[in-house]
Symmetry: C3
Amino acid sequence: MNNNDISYTLQALAEHLDARLIGDGARQVRALATLGDAGPDDIAFLANRAYLKYLPGTRAGAVLLHPSHADECPVACLTLDNPYLGYARLSRLFDPLAARFEAGVHESAIVSPSARIGENVQIGPQAVIEAGVVIERDVVVGPGCVVGADSVIGEGSRLHANATVAHGVMIGKRTILHSGCVIGGDGFGFAHDGSRWHKIAQLGGVVLGDDVEVGSCSSIDRGALGDTLIGNDVKIDSQVQIAHNVQIGDHSALAGCVGIAGSTRVGRHCMLGGGVGLSGHLTLCDGVQVTGMSLVSHSIHEPGVYSSGAGGTMPNSQWRKNAVRFKQLDALAKRLSRLEKRRDEKPDVERQRDEKYKDDS
Amino acid sequence: MNNNDISYTLQALAEHLDARLIGDGARQVRALATLGDAGPDDIAFLANRAYLKYLPGTRAGAVLLHPSHADECPVACLTLDNPYLGYARLSRLFDPLAARFEAGVHESAIVSPSARIGENVQIGPQAVIEAGVVIERDVVVGPGCVVGADSVIGEGSRLHANATVAHGVMIGKRTILHSGCVIGGDGFGFAHDGSRWHKIAQLGGVVLGDDVEVGSCSSIDRGALGDTLIGNDVKIDSQVQIAHNVQIGDHSALAGCVGIAGSTRVGRHCMLGGGVGLSGHLTLCDGVQVTGMSLVSHSIHEPGVYSSGAGGTMPNSQWRKNAVRFKQLDALAKRLSRLEKRRDEKPDVERQRDEKYKDDS
Amino acid sequence: MNNNDISYTLQALAEHLDARLIGDGARQVRALATLGDAGPDDIAFLANRAYLKYLPGTRAGAVLLHPSHADECPVACLTLDNPYLGYARLSRLFDPLAARFEAGVHESAIVSPSARIGENVQIGPQAVIEAGVVIERDVVVGPGCVVGADSVIGEGSRLHANATVAHGVMIGKRTILHSGCVIGGDGFGFAHDGSRWHKIAQLGGVVLGDDVEVGSCSSIDRGALGDTLIGNDVKIDSQVQIAHNVQIGDHSALAGCVGIAGSTRVGRHCMLGGGVGLSGHLTLCDGVQVTGMSLVSHSIHEPGVYSSGAGGTMPNSQWRKNAVRFKQLDALAKRLSRLEKRRDEKPDVERQRDEKYKDDS
């Protein structure tokens, strides 16, 4: 990606980040790059000691780093206590999408006359805004997006191309929905009459807080009666499934391919690794971390790191032998107990025998 | 969600459900709610003993429940033998989507002149109906949906916004496709020539039965030669992947994130928990239930509940110790056997020795 | 699917495949079918010995098979050393989609004046082509697709309905994107300030090679700084998630529901089974195969087949007993070691005793 129109002086960046500048403040940088890849027009950053080895040889125009590394930096630098956070803030300055914003409703978009569209809103080609929708100010609705009846998109939010918001969904401010995601599809609810299924209409909605992000092709289902609730600053990666009436606390992060079954409540500041599955009707307290591809089938009441599964890969030939044993695990444990019991009984027998021999001797 | 235009008398609801009414039949209710949340304008239900504690204090206008709980109900009630099924039927009366239906083809939709559109059909904005498609009566095609050439959408079905049906797909009656789902994408078929892949065109289609539901962002791939077949009353949750030439029997239910590999046949009345994976070319007989995140790598010929995996989460520090041992499991089992063998040999040795000493003595 | 307009003589097919024809070259076939299903107008194939039993009774007009089976074939045949590869090549001749191609930009499509559209390109209804896009010759962009600003779609590629390509994505030649897939959504990158998340703008792009296929509802995220790189001839099934800055080597194949975390590098000629998860920042060398639903949490440096997990399903009652033991596995192993140690100490004790008795005797 070339973004040739973006350029900042180091002085301007230092002020933006509230960083200390060492070097020529008038110098211009035009892009952000890694220490290894950066050239003279780029600003790089050092946020992980593993990359320190690239610092002495960097060709970057400037480097954002911790004050403790300033002495080792061969070029201009901006120093900050949390350079990774500085990188995050810097990255947004170099985002070409921000520059491309153009307010207005594309002529091919279909906007219901009863929808209320705020100021400075961009609605892309082929988008559909249904009746009763409220689009607050500074929102971007990408091409091909659909916003269903009576939904609200909060100030400054962005829907990327082909995102879908169903009816009656409330989306907070500065929230980002990526392409292909679906907010407010029906929860999976059916009653069985002994021979077949009867659909339970999903009458609740979905409420997303402020500063939420939902990744590509992720789905958040609407509640059966009450709403599915996603707190503020919740970050959801791609291919995630959140079932009806789930609640996710503020500041939690869900990595790709996570699946959460109905009515489960995840606390604040939780982190779920890729492919984690949570069973339904559980409660995870604040501060729970679950490692990748774990199945959580019971509530968790203490913060900490949790895992399940049989561990990492091994060569298939070795794995087969171990996996076969898993089916025997209970039997193995019982055999071990039996052996221990017999072993523990031995000393007495031996003692008696020894004593007998003692007598003999 | 406010649905202020929906209102029923208790008398009308009792007749609809064929329930016994105890209380004032002229009383109006305007929404469905849980026992705990319901107010005087709402009807609630009691279908799970866990919620019985909320019955004495409910503020609901009326409660749907089993006759055995009628005496404990402080307000009007409708009694039924299967109140959960009653709740399902009631829920659909309060669904605002039903009320919003408006027949007609939106002016922005693109409908091929060779498509046949039945009576009382709604085709939303920006939808595309390709050549040779048949849309039967009472169908709703949501905004942004695409129906590919020669496909058929059966009577009373509904495609939610941005659902995609490829060419040559047959969809039964009263079937629901949620947003972002894809019916009839190519199956994953390639021949290898020793150095690279050659695509196998997927010439089969997909046939969905009546009363099927497919969740948000789920995909059902078209067959390689024959069709991928989904029976009647099959319920498929969100983020599910069904590969080419899979067959799913009537009345089966697949929870979120299930993945089924090619040519596997799932029987009738099966239930697959969230995240379950089925290998290819398997057969699961009728009445098989598989618990969440299990991998099924062999056919199952007896109905019942099946599971795999290493069980639920534990603290990561404890888990690491156990997971390391999994890699040693076969070795552990062999060591146990060796120990047992030596233990079993012992008596003879000891016996001989004992006998020897007996001689000595 | 009836494709009544497609018909070939056996002679023409033999020439196309460079196969030896035994039988009447003027005979016409109109479709491809399995040995068991084929009728007189169909050509069937035998590529797997498991289906050899159907050969004597086949009603096919002709059969594609290995020369060693020609004698057993009751009808005309085409012989080839790799009949499965022959089937792949044949299948594409019978694909009705190829026949349906019609060059041109649909009047409802929105194409930016700054986009460059090659010769013989089809752009479907409701599609959106943003500013600066390059669509090379012989490309098909399906209905409802969006191609973001400055992206390039290489010669002969096909985007199926409702596929989404974000801005700044490079797509090679003859590449196929299925419906609902998203190429170039933001990678999942945030910096934490101790209390909340700060978005890291994803400034890299995605580069897909030639002859790549991406399945329905799959997502490939854009890089944080550099690009996410998918090599040539990489085949990706449905519901796959590929995170930012992942690299996949040429000729690798990823089955459905695979998830790959950020910055992981997969070699050439790798095969990942359904539901496999790869942790972030790993390296898999060339020629690695991972079986279904395995979690790979460490780099793999030797080609071969790898697995993880606790093995296949068993009845739930049996599984529960084993899964409980998994939580005790480390304790069981320690108990076993203790037992072995005590057992190993025995001989000395016994030897001493034996010797003592020897002395006694």
